[in-house]
């Protein structure tokens, strides 16, 4: 087990993290500890997930999404050891406006790390032009790609383009075929991290919280011993284990959304202003070569 932080860093994080939880999954069994209880290791790969920054949103649920995204980036910049890179799992912007993309890019520079992006549906309101212009280089199709880091194979999927009436979103046959080809040369012991925007499991289909062809896509990964799927979209932390696949949805840095089915619709949830930062956050993920499990730490912006 590792959380990728040294003792001092851990204590420092513990001081601001409050309700932060460390998650590790070993042999298909997820376990959690309070941040301060975890023993620490420094070697291995650590990266950070940031999600649903919604730059441009300014309604009562969070009138200042720039400030909360900046607070998240400041937390990331303070991490020790420094994460290898960031992944942003979409809804960078609220309305796909050029100035929203540019503001988000300016803020995230503060993390002083490479960022790998996937789009959310809010980043595709202009048909994907703004996103592709800034992040499309070197990607396939509507922006999917893969890369290797620290012995882990990362697959970035796009599931915010193929929406059909009355249905869930889908990845589409082309992306699934590419994915199959992408992993064909990998050994089954290679840990796989898939990241995308909308959940790859049926969290709550009535609200569109799922991907129609996710089973087909993940079928391509059936032979791998460790598959971790990270996503955003639903602005809250949920986990699920299915065989060797673990699914984790992440907090937003902008505003929370209701738990599945607890409201008439999944609109922004208003919490008292002094509680807002306790329902926003980031995620740190650590992997040590030779260990099966990835350690996942979800950290709130305040207690």
């Amino acid at each position: 087990m590792t959380d990728g932080m040294n003792r001092r860093g851990l204590l420092r994080c513990g001081a601001w993290a409050g309700a932060g939880l460390l998650w590790t999954v070993s042999g298909g069994v997820p376990r959690s500890w309070l941040l301060g209880d975890a023993s620490a290791a420094t070697e291995g790969l650590t990266f950070v997930q940031i999600s649903d920054t919604h730059i441009g949103f300014n309604k009562p649920a969070n009138p200042d999404t720039k400030a909360t995204m900046t607070a998240a980036v400041d937390r990331i910049a303070a991490l020790s050891p420094k994460p290898a890179f960031l992944i942003h799992t979409g809804d960078i912007t609220h309305l796909s406006k050029p100035e929203e993309f540019d503001t988000a890019l300016q803020i995230i520079k503060g993390a002083n790390a490479e960022v790998h992006y996937v789009p959310g549906e809010h980043d595709w309101l202009d048909g994907g032009d703004g996103f592709r212009q800034r992040f499309g280089q070197g990607t396939k199709g509507d922006g999917w790609y893969s890369f290797n880091a620290g012995g882990v194979h990362f697959i970035a999927l796009v599931n915010v383009v193929d929406f059909k009436a009355g249905s869930l979103t889908s990845l589409g046959a082309d992306q699934i075929a590419w994915m199959k080809d992408d992993v064909s040369g990998l050994s089954a012991s290679t840990p796989i991290v898939v990241f995308t925007h909308i959940p790859m499991w049926a969290v709550y289909p009535k609200w569109g919280w799922g991907t129609a062809d996710s089973a087909e896509a993940l079928g391509n990964l059936a032979r791998f011993g460790s598959v971790t799927v990270l996503n955003g979209h639903i602005h809250q932390v949920l986990q699920k284990v299915e065989g060797k696949v673990t699914f984790h949805t992440a907090m937003s840095t902008a505003y929370p959304q209701p738990a599945p089915g607890t409201a008439a619709a999944p609109g922004p949830l208003k919490v008292p202003a002094d509680k807002l930062r306790s329902v926003l956050g980031i995620r740190e993920v650590a992997y040590v070569e030779g260990q099966e499990a990835l350690a996942i730490t979800d950290t709130r912006l305040s207690a």
Binding site: L125, G166, S167, L168, G267
Partner: protein, 111 residues
Amino acid sequence: MRLRYVALLALLGFGLLIRLGGGLSAAETKEVQIDNYSFTPGTLTVPVGTTVTWTNHDETPHTVVSADNPRSFKSSGLDTDDKFSVTFTKPGSYSYLCTVHPYMTGKIVVK
């Protein structure tokens, strides 16, 4: 005498305008509200020539996009209080959806 005649004409004219205005709004424009991730009314039947206007009351952006292929109409992302209008000039059944939340669907029937 002359003054009274002018006043009468003015009154008549005013009445005509009111009737004309009322007739226009009843026959040629209709509203669809977007509230809590749904279109209301879900199905709207209108005569040919009607302009339908959608208004987004949610804090979340929505779109109004024809489900036909090729699409017969398509809004951009509608922020809170944004409106989008389409004038339907041909009879038919026009299904549409919010492409951001595809479980949100509606239909305009033009007769």
